[in-house]
Symmetry: none
């Protein structure tokens, strides 16, 4: 594998008048982890970042330890211009260098007079990535210029920015399609950029259609033909962006362009996190500062929060499901040696192993789950058998315990204690939803229950029937159990279990409840959404009171 180094030392000096080049990781400048979440990642449908968002994400990326953060295209839109302006005073990057993105100068013009290139210099970023056409047909149809003029645009733009003291990377757009269409021309663009002083020539699979085998071969050929330092920018249209990035590195690329969580146009870009994890954990390359990999899960989720997308539960390495085990088959052996069933220790990336309870689970996973909750079940085979049998029966009826830890724990306690611990006994309840002639809506519920020997009748109103039922129940119980005042319903999910049966289907409700410090989930199943919700609420409050240390016998 090629490790560019001597030419880099020279180029570092050239930008010394901007600011000193920092170490980008344990490999120094020899390997670049280049993040483009703020530029290419922001092209994802549904992402719309403010300047403040971009500054926050840049801080997270720097904390993670990437070497380069491409912040946007200054001059192309006011938001990106503002980002670079504020970055100078508001961003105190420790590891990363900020990169401005732009295009080669206009056809027929001169770089020195190109306002777009001037904006890149004015951004203050020490590094500039210039996008250049490398596919002959794109030069003719999109740029509407000659192949020779495009080469001159590359040379002129690179030389200009180098003279201005900038380090320059060239993104060769549509490189792999261009290489297939006109190999000589694609290589001529690489050589033009390299000879004009670009430090890295990045081969972009812009349309994302290249598979790893072919991509690896082309990267190796370009390296052999040109001697330029090569980077890779892969899009995920075939689902192979991570593999393509690793294939390029295997072929000798020493610069990888990625985005946090794989955000990007269409399907997305190569996901920074699995790329870095594979390099560090599987391919023995140290590309981050020591200790940063263990922050990966937290940083991935934090960035998802900033862009306002739910973190993908099934993302490699960092998803909450990435180390979750469900199969009963596996659970018995996981007890013996967890490493037999995980490809890495999840703590290396800041994640944790979780056991899920489902009807596929056997005795071993119930024992493990019990242990996680503080119940040692290993001595009582009958008890475990009863719990497994009851879970299977309940899940067949539509209950799902893998997302309802608290209901599972209550079920477990029932079996341990021999009967359900109850803080209250319900006599009846009723919910009414009404659309009035005047157009108003009424949601009202009444509960009749017994608690500590007392009969209580209480009515509540709410946004909907479940909300009204929740309020009636709280009103009835709060005088006797003031601990309930701290509890809040924070999420509520409904699923109709059997489709194709119209409104007569079974309904499953999941409720998440918080006491301000911890959350728990409960489940209810019934032929209607209100009755299912009632069950989940009953479990939620029973569990909350147990957690608060209230004794149901008292």
């Amino acid at each position: 594998m090629t490790e560019a180094s001597s030419s880099e030392a020279a180029s570092n000096k050239a930008v010394g008048n901007q600011e000193s080049i920092r170490e980008t990781g344990p490999s120094g400048d020899a390997f670049h982890v280049f993040d483009t979440t703020l530029r290419d990642g922001a092209q994802r449908e549904g992402i719309n970042l403010t300047v403040a968002d971009k500054l926050t994400i840049a801080r997270y990326l720097d904390e993670f330890g990437v070497g380069f953060i491409e912040g946007g295209w200054p001059g192309a839109n006011p938001r990106d211009t503002e980002f670079f302006a504020r970055a100078q005073t508001e961003l105190d990057l420790r590891h990363a260098q900020l990169v401005a993105f732009g295009a080669t100068r206009r056809a027929g013009g001169s770089a020195a007079e190109d306002p777009q290139l001037a904006a890149l210099v004015a951004s203050g970023a020490p590094v500039v990535t210039l996008v250049a056409k490398s596919h002959d047909r794109h030069v003719e149809l999109a740029l509407r210029t000659t192949l020779e003029e495009n080469l001159e645009m590359v040379r002129d733009s690179v030389r200009y920015l180098r003279a201005e003291g900038r380090r320059v990377f060239i993104d060769c757009e549509h490189f792999f399609d261009g290489y297939r269409a006109n190999r000589d021309y694609a290589l001529a663009v690489v050589r033009a950029a390299h000879e004009a002083g670009a430090d890295v020539v990045v081969l972009c699979d812009t349309n994302g259609g290249t598979l790893p085998g072919e991509l690896r071969a082309i990267v190796a050929e370009v390296l052999a033909e040109t001697g330029a330092r090569i980077g890779i920018h892969a899009q995920d249209d075939t689902g192979c962006a991570v593999a393509n990035t690793l294939a390029a590195v295997d072929a000798g690329a020493t610069h990888v362009q990625c985005t946090a969580n794989g955000y990007g146009e269409r399907v997305g870009n190569a996901n920074l996190f699995p790329v870095v994890a594979a390099l560090e954990l599987k391919l023995d390359r140290r590309v981050l500062p020591a200790g940063r990999l263990a922050e990966m899960t937290r940083i991935s989720h934090a960035i998802a929060e900033v862009v306002n997308l739910s973190p993908s539960t099934h993302q490699p390495y960092v998803g909450v499901s990435a180390f979750a085990h469900k199969a009963g088959l596996h659970a018995s052996a996981i007890k013996v040696d967890p490493d037999l069933y995980q490809h890495i220790d999840p703590e290396l990336v800041g994640n944790t192993m979780r056991m899920l309870v489902s009807d596929m689970a056997g005795r071993a996973s119930v024992e493990l789950k019990g242990k996680e909750l503080g119940y040692d079940l290993s001595a009582d085979r009958d008890l475990v058998g009863r719990v497994v049998a009851r879970i299977k029966k309940q899940e067949k009826a539509g209950y799902s315990y893998e997302a309802a830890d608290a209901s599972f724990e209550l079920l477990l306690r029932d079996e341990v204690k021999g009967s359900r611990e109850r803080f209250f006994t319900v006599e009846s309840w009723r919910a009414i939803v009404e659309q009035t002639p005047a157009g108003g809506a009424v949601n009202e519920a009444t509960v009749k229950l017994w608690a500590k020997g007392e009969r209580i009748v209480s009515t509540g109103e709410g946004n909907g029937p479940v909300d009204a039922l929740d309020r009636a129940l709280r009103t009835a119980l709060e005088r006797i159990y003031p601990q309930l005042a701290k509890l809040e319903l924070v999420d509520y999910k409904v699923r109709i279990l059997e489709g194709r049966h119209g409104t007569g289907s079974e309904t499953r409700v999941l409720v998440d409840t918080s006491d301000g410090t911890r959350e728990w989930s409960t489940v209810g199943v019934a032929s209607n959404v209100i009755a299912a919700s009632w069950q989940a609420l009953d479990d939620a409050y029973t569990y909350g009171l147990l957690r608060a240390g209230v004794d149901p016998e008292a």
Copy 2:
């Protein structure tokens, strides 16, 4: 690339007493597209399939044209046993063969007396996949037996099932980890299975930690060493499952195990859709019956609906964003030649190119949709503008018209006609859900409405409040509009739109209604599920009456 064929012809005969082997695609038996959504895919956290769900998914997979559908583990849980029983009468597969999954016989026993193997035979499936340990440490720690006994378990189990007329595939669990740990033993397991009569030996990257370069090399070595027909089963823990599957095929594997939408334990399995698309479109292998690839997007989304997960918007090939372009810079070039900006023609996989952000795209798609529904809107720019504006406003409030064609058409008609066409005017409605002291449940609804100048008060009872409301509404209207008797609610879906707000969130309800020949979908959004359902029912019946040719003015 190796194409096993002569040995397959022999094995086909062996199961001829079960049922004739069907063509699995244009490559016949030479290449297997093996789907395990119903078995391994169901291990995904959050998926909990009913038997009806499994039958529906099997039909979609068969329609897509996979060669094998692994349906579950009969005998291991009641649901899977029931699935195979019902499959015999309820599934009429045209392309696929049904596969039962199980494990090799118990250590120290005999295959002929193993109840688990007997259940596989009893399932009636013509093909059985047996999971076998191939990692020495797993044999010792998980199976707690000797390495030699494990080989005997493989031989004995395969021979038994072959003698029972089954075709047998062997899943070598943890193969790649095992190969690294004890190469000779891993190869011995492959040879034992092959020599005992297994048709395919599937190398499983069970923990998903292997990268494509190493995986490709190991597959090639196993092929060279054993001569067995090789399959691949890749998990996506490194984000490389698709690339790993393709790397194995490149090395000579002729059987790929995948799941729809990549569902599976932890991060998931190799995603069927990008694997098949790459094989067909990029690697020039015909692995599906002609014309099926163009159904891929629809089938991917339909399966997501059945498992009740939102289809991934950014899934390769089939995501709604997979061919979505931000307009602007390259718009003119895209007009000249769209193929410059997409890696394949999206129609090949049943998807479409979309232009984002542009108001023109919104207008264009409304015009197109109108045309599809029989309204020529091209002449009335104002009307189109009003419809676009109203859709934007409604979708912001939580409505979704993509899945609610009938509600969209009603909205369009409102704007065309100037006001909503009404068959009835509601004065008020009320739904009551009650849990009685005796433990019974009452679901009762009353509607008060006007139709053809008449005031009608009607009460209905049902399984739940929405069912009761539906019955009250039908009872009120059926005398006046007998056409309603033919309408049936066939599906009902609820989604809570904003999490983190407890039971006070906005609720979206989708209702599918049928008149016996066609189905339509309507949507309602409100702060409670009953009111949202009411809106969807109102749209459903209004649309149904319009479809039946009833004149609202009459």
